[in-house]
């Protein structure tokens, strides 16, 4: 039998165990293992993507126990899309870390691989409690990574992050417990079946539990008003970690999309569309407040972190349109915004290094060494972040605007999406002008050797090439996300695939 579905989950775990056991190995060899594992993960993710492109959902029953009794992994187009995004992102973020950040504390590579274990598991699991477990893996690994390298501000932001997320985990348990107590199952497909058959006397309880679950995912996705943990955490951690974390809010957005379409999807009877009235307003509000935060930011890292909040808002707004076009537009936008934010975090590190004590603060500073190259990259990153043409961010917004045609919410969506685009443009133009143009002294810090510069900026360039690739290959990629959206809108097929004929 094929183990392709579980392989992307187990591989990082295995790599982490090997790295833990061989922790005294020469750092170069450990780096080799880490990168090798990540490349293999990328191959696995791409293979899975190609495999599920035929439209069939692959189910993997752990321990050979049939659903809904055992845990199943479930690979569909959506899971594979996010896995590939994660693997690509993680690869370039890791490349950046190899330049020394991985040596500033213990166990960087172990934590990094376990973070990937958590991400892959969260995207592939078909079981709600198992999702909780992977959320815990994600949380602990991300906490470790967040603190990697140490420092007072980082520790403080990390404390806020972990305490709030532990409260979130508790609420997750409440919600799962309530769902299990009323519906008697944990398998998502079986939950979908049970939700659709909820007797009238239980609807309120299931509604409450479902919305609590949404609250947990909204916290992970950094939606308003639960977004405040993100800017400090992301702005104060190390660059490769912040870059990798660009995918973390997407885990929340993914989970929202999953339960919105599968458990509370169009076949859910009295509970169909439970989340729909919430998603669009919250998404738009998050987009607006996130972008305003970027305008007000006092440091480049903080600015990008707020734009990460805004991008989560865009995603959830797109999902909140509750039509296949909106979901497809959001999914097309997702890798773009992830890669762009990651590139921005990595580039910020390169800028901060060149500015000495000023670091990434938005104040006029010295002339940067290699300012043409760094400035040029910043220009492209800014275009990507602001969603300007011709990059995929623009196409994503265009598709989002198209998906809104015919909906009541059209004026709101247009005003917020386009207005925030302008604000982001103004904010980034100001930052670029401050950092690169408004330089006070011409005392040049020693320019780095060309080889070093190339190696330093290679991950940023790589991510930007991905962004450009997303734009060039828009046709086939959008076709994929369209098919993904169509698949998501047919929850019956999931239920059929997972439970076989009639379930229990």
């Amino acid at each position: 039998m094929s183990h392709l579905v579980i392989a992307p989950v187990l591989l990082p775990l295995m790599a982490a165990i090997v790295l833990l056991l061989l922790r005294h190995l020469d750092l170069r060899l450990r780096r080799l293992i880490s990168v090798g594992a990540l490349l293999a993960e990328l191959v696995l993710a791409l293979t899975l993507l190609v495999t599920v492109s035929d439209g069939e959902i692959r189910v993997y029953a752990l321990g050979d126990w049939p659903a809904p009794y055992g845990i199943v992994l479930m690979a569909d187009r959506l899971s594979a899309w996010l896995l590939v995004t994660t693997a690509l992102l993680a690869f370039f973020a890791l490349l950046h870390a190899l330049r020394g950040i991985d040596a500033t504390g213990r166990h960087f590579h172990v934590l990094y691989q376990l973070q990937l274990f958590g991400l892959a598991g969260a995207f592939l699991t078909g079981d709600l409690f198992n999702l909780f477990v992977f959320f815990e893996v994600l949380l602990l690994a991300s906490y470790g990574l967040l603190l990697h390298g140490g420092g007072a501000l980082r520790t403080r932001a990390g404390l806020h992050y972990v305490v709030l997320n532990l409260v979130g985990s508790t609420l997750f348990l409440f919600a799962v417990g309530a769902l299990y107590g009323v519906l008697g199952t944990l398998n998502m497909a079986d939950l979908a079946r049970a939700v659709a058959a909820t007797p009238a006397d239980n609807v309120g309880v299931v509604r409450a539990a479902g919305l609590l679950l949404f609250g947990v995912f909204a916290l992970k996705a950094a939606l308003l008003p639960l977004h405040l943990w993100l800017p400090a955490a992301y702005a104060h951690t190390s660059a490769p970690v912040a870059a990798l974390f660009a995918i973390m809010t997407k885990v929340g957005a993914y989970s929202i999309l999953r339960i919105d379409t599968l458990i509370f999807g169009n076949a859910a009877g009295p509970l169909a569309g439970l989340l729909d009235p919430w998603l669009l307003p919250i998404g738009l509000a998050t987009l607006a407040v996130g972008t305003l935060g970027a305008v007000a930011a006092r440091g480049l890292g903080q600015q990008i972190a707020y734009l990460v909040v805004a991008s989560a808002g865009t995603l959830v707004s797109a999902f909140g349109l509750a039509n296949p076009e909106g979901v497809a537009a959001g999914l097309y936008y997702l890798p773009h915004t992830t890669f762009a934010a990651a590139a921005a975090f990595l580039l910020t590190a390169a800028i901060a290094r060149r500015r000495g004590e000023l670091a990434d603060r938005l104040d006029p500073g010295p002339t940067l060494p290699e300012k043409r190259l760094v400035g040029g990259l910043f220009f492209v990153v800014a275009v990507a972040l602001a969603g300007l043409p011709p990059l995929a961010g623009f196409l994503g917004k265009f598709l989002l605007l198209r998906a809104t045609l015919g909906l009541q919410a059209l004026p709101w969506v247009y005003a917020v999406v386009l207005g925030t685009g302008l604000l982001a443009l103004i904010a980034l133009a100001r930052s670029g002008s401050l950092v690169f143009y408004r330089t006070q002294s011409v005392t040049r810090a020693a320019a780095s050797a060309p080889v070093t510069v190339a190696a330093e900026l290679a991950p940023v360039t790589g991510l930007l090439l991905l962004v450009i690739g997303l734009s060039l290959a828009a046709g086939p990629l959008y076709e994929y996300t369209q098919a993904t959206a169509t698949q998501l809108m047919q929850p019956d097929r999931y239920i059929q695939t997972v439970l076989g004929g009639g379930g229990r």
Binding site: M1, I6, G144, D201, V203, G215, V289, P389, L401
Partner: protein, 936 residues
Amino acid sequence: MLSLAWVVLIPYLGAALVAGVAHLGRLYSAWAAGLTTLASLALLLPEAPATFAGQTLVQRLPWLPQAGLDLAFRLDGLALLFALLILGIGLLIILYARYYLSERDSMGRFYAYLMLFMGAMLGIVLSENVIQLLVFWELTSLASFLLISYWQHRADARNGARMALAVTGAGGLCLLAGFVLLGEIVGSYELSAILAAGEAIRAHPWYAPTLILILLGVFTKSAQFPFHFWLPHAMAAPTPVSAYLHSATMVKAGVFLLARLFPALSGTWEWSHIVGGAGLATLLVGATIALFKHDLKGLLAYSTVSHLGLITTLFGIGTPLAAVAGVFHIINHATFKAGLFMAAGIIDHECGTRDMRRINGLWKYMPYTGTLAMVAAAAMAGVPLVNGFLSKEMFFAEAVSFATQMRFGWLLPLAVTVAGVFAVAYSVRFIHDVFFNGDPVDLPRTPHEPPRWMKVPVEVLVVLCLLVGIFPALTVQPILSVAAGAVLQAPLPAFDLAIWHSFSPALGMSVVALAGGLAVYAGRRPLFALAERSRGRLDAQRLYHALLNGLFALAGGLTRALDAGSLQRLVLLFVLSAIGLGVVGFLGADTPLRGERALLPVDGVSLLAALGLIAAAAAAVLLHRQRLTALIITGAVGLVVSLIFVKFSAPDLALTQLSVEVVTVILLLLALYFLPQTSPAESSRARRARDGLIALVAGGGTAALAWAVLTRPYESIAGFFLERSLPEGGGRNVVNVILVDFRGFDTLGEITVLALAGIGIYAMLERLALPGPTQDAQGRPWNWDAHPAIMASLTRLLLPLALLTAVFILLRGHNLPGGGFIAGLVTAVALIMQYLANGVAWTHARLPANFHPVIGAGLALALATGLASWAFDHPFLTSTFGHVHWPVVGSIELASAMAFDLGVYLVVVGATLLILVHLGLMHGASHSVPSEAERG
């Protein structure tokens, strides 16, 4: 063949080339830029004959076909005219800039930006798809940002660039919305379809919003009132940039779009009023302000604003003939204004200033340049025999014919005549102030004629002005006809390009404008004084800055109000959100809180336990400031919870809870050591009341949810586990079989979490040095007897027993209460006792202090057990079991899940000890006990 795509793409490739050859020498970039432009032109020209024959060429590449967005290029008369202007004037600019830029300016950067801009401009005019057009539209904004801020050390350049970007960027976003709506109305984003669908568009209910959104894009780009203010600020750019952007390209993109969409959108009340009104206002505002600008380029900038207003007014009038005149004036303005900017650049270059109050009497120094400037200025004023006269005459004629159609129509000829008067006045000022009007005042350097080749581009343009002005039918007629035909998408109206028609009202207006202009210039001094006094009264730019400052204030205020960096705030918002979601969720359906299930009878012991639990929880809250006390009370809560597990027949859980309690208390004690013994009272009374209320609501909500769930009939998958545990899982202890088999994957995840906690805390503590207290609150030494003898002896005695118990619990776990998790905790507690009782040094000497391999081995074992099932072609973690007959001992059941459980055991032991021992080591370090064995 995709020649059109290449025409657009080549400048982009050229930009890379230009930047690439820049290090070879200053001139390489200029040559590369010039050759790139020529290459683009060479690809375009072969397509021109077909265009002159009236054909429209469309080339297509798939891009995002599902959304109607293909890369589609279109070449018709209008596109050809603009492409020729862009490339032709571009070539002249490249030549001019080569002499204009100084040694300190980077040639490579300048030409690379210029190429980027040229490519974007070509993209706009050659687009068939309007979304694609918008892509290039935004690219011109970005490229112009780079060009305007070229002298980036100058504040005015940076601010001007940001202003241009913000204003045109905002317009671009409106345009995007307008195009999306337009595409929805028409059913296609392609111009061929849009231009043919004018009737349907104008009749659609979305027509007005669509039109307004598109016009916002047009007006911002073409600097129409009230968005005109960015253009003069963009003059901070090097003059070749101004000459290019503000004559033939950037600002013409807006009027290009008016021309392009003319058949689709024009001919309505909204169109003529909005377009005509904005155009007329711009025409007047620009012309008046231009006269009062002392800065040479400032005068030209406002004159550009005014001429753009003129073109917009013509399209607003909306008759076919007006459209023809609009296209004609686009051509004429491009030629004379580019020439004038270049002349201004030469003057600036030679004099070192652009202030017309200082630059006087240059005729003596540079008569040749003066002559060229005079011709171009005559065109700007609309003097006969130069091209500007012809299109201005047509404009006047259209204004007059429009006047007969409306009640207040006579206002239009009056207004345009006034604008004409000012146009003449500022043109005269440009010439008279600069070249005559006495002697130069205090110039930084002595002017003389510029290098030969710097004048060539101006000569070319001036010659064109004259040729078109004198022989219009021979020169401009063919391209004008084909371009105007493409604008109208209909047969051309009859028009006659001649210098002399007859005595007409238009001629009269021209005469009035010329005479009036001279008169205004003659009486300029009182006017200047008036302008000086009223300066800054009505200033759109101030509005822009107020808006921008307001935005930053709003953003800053909101962000800082929300983001206080307070953990309490974060948790508060989360709890409130949860309450809101839960309440809205539950009340959203008409559901009773209590279910139908019969309640169990309450017995005395349970009641007592419950009351104890409540009392302990309440006491923990009340005493939370005495941290040690609070910790002990919290322990009581845990104990009662284990008792509840016992009552509901879950001995595994009870055992786990108990051992977790023990470990947690030790952990917290270790951590509390570094913290003050009491918490200060930080919250006000009101704050505590608020928080207490919220806590009550949240707790009450949780209780209500639990009540609602527990009172409902319970039907779950649990029955399956009870049935299959023994026959298929090989274990009688269902809880354990669930943990290691049915849901072993969860357990794998959870032990990973534990391992993560261990190594995470280890990594965090590695560099931490915390000061710890050496004496207690009363000043007594902290530990005068760290390791009491009785305790030390006892724990040593207990160790083997405890370990034996742990092994026993581990082995029987599959069938009886126990298992790897509990066994691991018991082992960890037993070992920790040794540390507590005997000290770290003593214990380390006897016990390896390195727990990483234990964790690693445990995870590896658990993973390997799961993977082993692959060898038998079963999914991950498929278990098997069998009976082994050992001599003497008898039949023993062995399940593969037990290996998994052993992995769990190892991880629990390793992670727990890793955390506790390293926290303990910090104690040692904090009061300098002799150095411990090395860590990790």
